[in-house]
């Protein structure tokens, strides 16, 4: 933290009182900001008077890049938006294209998607909550709970070979049926994780030090949260029960029974608790999905978009033609505009896709929840202590990749 002293004449209205505010550059690379964010703070001692965030340090021009890529190559861009829960972004993108081409996805594939999306929601919330612990001084929970993220990543790895930037699934469903090993991993995760989550909860949820530290820290009212277009756990912590999975169900979410935890005051503790409870709800959804998953194909019957199996490509002319068309990005896409949203780790992840019938999107816009709610951050930390600003940021779960796209 480079401290730059600068004398600012801050004259009060009567012209008598002079106050000296110091400028503090928090970031861009500071371990406590968990990402590349800069905030220029005007401080009076420990109290923040004004904050000016600078964003864009890892802007990678995904929207421009997407205008040159065939649809199936854009999945890798969505990985790198919210890299703590990339499968949700992947699925959201697949579903956007499926909506555009009006593909019907078999139930089994949809249930498999739900399982993966909920697993990645758990891994996202788990990182966020354990990092709130770290920022309040409790390293143990972070180190203990992080091995469960590794186990979730093992599941992703057994499905698609990648752990962090997954590129999981295909437009139309899944590339193949999951192996028995994957199902075993998921089942053992479901059996063992609740115990670990309970231990983690006992460490923090009713811990007096943690509660004193987080209650009334960085609160936001429901009205202000809606005005700033908050979504996801941050909005629900303020007391608004908006969840995309319930309001506009996608991928068969209407088949599952789950509750939406909401908070009351929108402070750091509420955000923490909403995420804690959402993890439990996610476990319930996964259990129901495993119990009720139907048999059947794992991908839609859309040969123009779904790569045929290799044996077919070598022995069957149609399959070869489709393979060529898909790889070269020559499949016909209807003209039109779609907006599709999914409930990501941080809120409503939306894809606004304008297609002119070409091989690439004419325009693709990502609605990134982080980008939208981070603008309320200066207002939320105004008048609070510097250390409160740090945990407010980590409890908002601002992910640099999603913020900057």
């Amino acid at each position: 933290m480079a401290k730059k002293k600068e004398h600012i004449q801050n004259t009060a209205a009567n012209g008598e009182e002079e106050k000296e505010l110091s400028i503090l550059n928090l970031g861009p690379t500071h371990p406590a900001t968990h990402g590349i964010f800069q905030n220029v703070l005007k401080m009076d001692g420990e109290i923040i008077h004004e904050a000016t965030p600078t964003v864009g340090y890892i802007h990678r021009a995904f929207e421009k890049l997407a205008e040159r890529r065939p649809f199936y190559q854009i999945t890798t861009l969505t990985d790198r938006l919210n890299y703590c829960s990339s499968p949700i972004n992947n699925m959201g993108w697949h579903m956007t294209v499926e909506k555009l081409i009006k593909a019907e996805i078999p139930k089994r594939a949809q249930y498999m998607r739900v399982i993966i999306m909920e697993l990645s929601r758990i891994s996202d919330h788990l990182i966020c909550n354990s990092v709130i612990g770290v920022d309040t001084g409790a390293m143990t929970g972070f180190l203990y709970i992080f091995q469960w993220r590794e186990k979730i990543y093992d599941i992703f790895e057994s499905i698609c070979g990648a752990r962090l930037t997954t590129n999981i699934g295909r437009i139309g469903g899944w590339d193949k049926e999951w192996s028995p090993k994957t199902w075993d991993l998921i089942k053992s995760f479901l059996k063992e994780y609740p115990k670990a989550l309970d231990e983690f909860a006992r460490l923090l949820e009713r811990n007096k030090i943690f509660m004193d530290r987080t209650i009334n820290c960085g609160p936001i009212s429901a009205q202000m949260a809606l005005d700033y277009s908050f979504t996801g756990p941050n909005l629900r912590a303020a007391g608004v029960d908006y969840d995309v999975r319930v309001m506009t169900p996608y991928s068969s979410y209407e088949d599952f029974q789950f509750t939406i935890p909401i908070g009351t005051s929108g402070d750091t503790y509420d955000r923490f608790m909403v995420r804690q409870d959402e993890m439990k709800e996610s476990l319930k959804i996964i259990e129901q999905a495993i119990k009720n998953i139907p048999d059947g194909p794992v991908h839609a019957d859309i040969p123009e978009f779904f790569l045929p199996p290799k044996e077919e490509v070598y022995n069957n002319m149609e399959a070869l033609i489709y393979h060529f068309k898909i790889v070269m990005g020559e499949s016909d896409v209807p003209k039109g505009e779609v907006y599709h949203c999914v409930e990501g780790g941080n809120g409503e992840v939306g894809y606004y896709l304008v297609s002119d019938g070409g091989r690439t999107p004419f325009r693709l816009h990502f609605r990134r929840p982080c980008f939208i709610y981070y603008q309320a951050y200066p207002e939320m930390i105004k008048g609070s202590m510097l250390s409160d600003a740090i945990i407010t940021m980590s409890s908002m779960n601002v992910i640099a990749g999603e913020l900057d796209a």
Partner: protein
């Protein structure tokens, strides 16, 4: 109220209140879409927000694009009424040489950064915006990179023919 009904109702209301402002309305997949004249966009948005029947209190998304003939820019608003779960898309087109449009920051505070992003990438000047600066790109940049006149790759390259692929 289903989506078609919502579309008809809003179109009727807009035609009553602002004759001529609504250029076109259609269902595009699962979204009612309204094409609004630029001069009336702020009045239309504030009607949609403040009318007790529609009550679009939530701005889901605000973005822009450039039309294929490269002569026009568009700004697209996605509005949401959460309790009734109405979603609409409002679009407005204007000349690229005069890219001015009233800001929506007085209606939704969340429009602030979304408008800055649209300015950053398309050069749309939101009149009345409190702090219209670049947000994701560097301040010194003098182009608006998402406009179609700036191709992704260096077009002066001669060692590579790309006319078969991409635009």
């Amino acid at each position: 109220m289903d989506k078609q009904e919502l579309l008809n109702k809003i179109a009727q209301k807009l035609n009553e209140q602002f004759p001529g402002a609504l250029e076109n309305s259609e269902m595009s997949y699962d979204f009612p879409v309204f094409y609004i004249q630029r001069d009336k966009i702020h009045e239309v948005l504030s009607l949609l927000k403040n009318d007790p029947e529609f009550d679009f209190h939530f701005l889901t998304d605000l973005t822009g694009f450039q039309t294929a003939d490269e002569k026009q820019l568009a700004v697209i608003y996605h509005l949401h009424n959460m309790p009734k779960n109405y979603r609409v898309r409002v679009k407005t087109f204007f000349d690229i040489n005069k890219p001015e449009i009233p800001t929506a920051t007085d209606l939704w505070a969340g429009a602030n950064w979304m408008e800055r992003e649209t300015y950053d990438f398309y050069g749309v000047k939101f009149k009345g915006h409190p702090n219209l600066k670049r947000i994701l790109n560097v301040d010194e940049m003098d182009i608006f990179p998402l406009r179609k006149e700036y191709p992704l790759e260096d077009q002066t390259r001669e060692d590579k023919s790309d006319k078969m692929f991409g635009r």
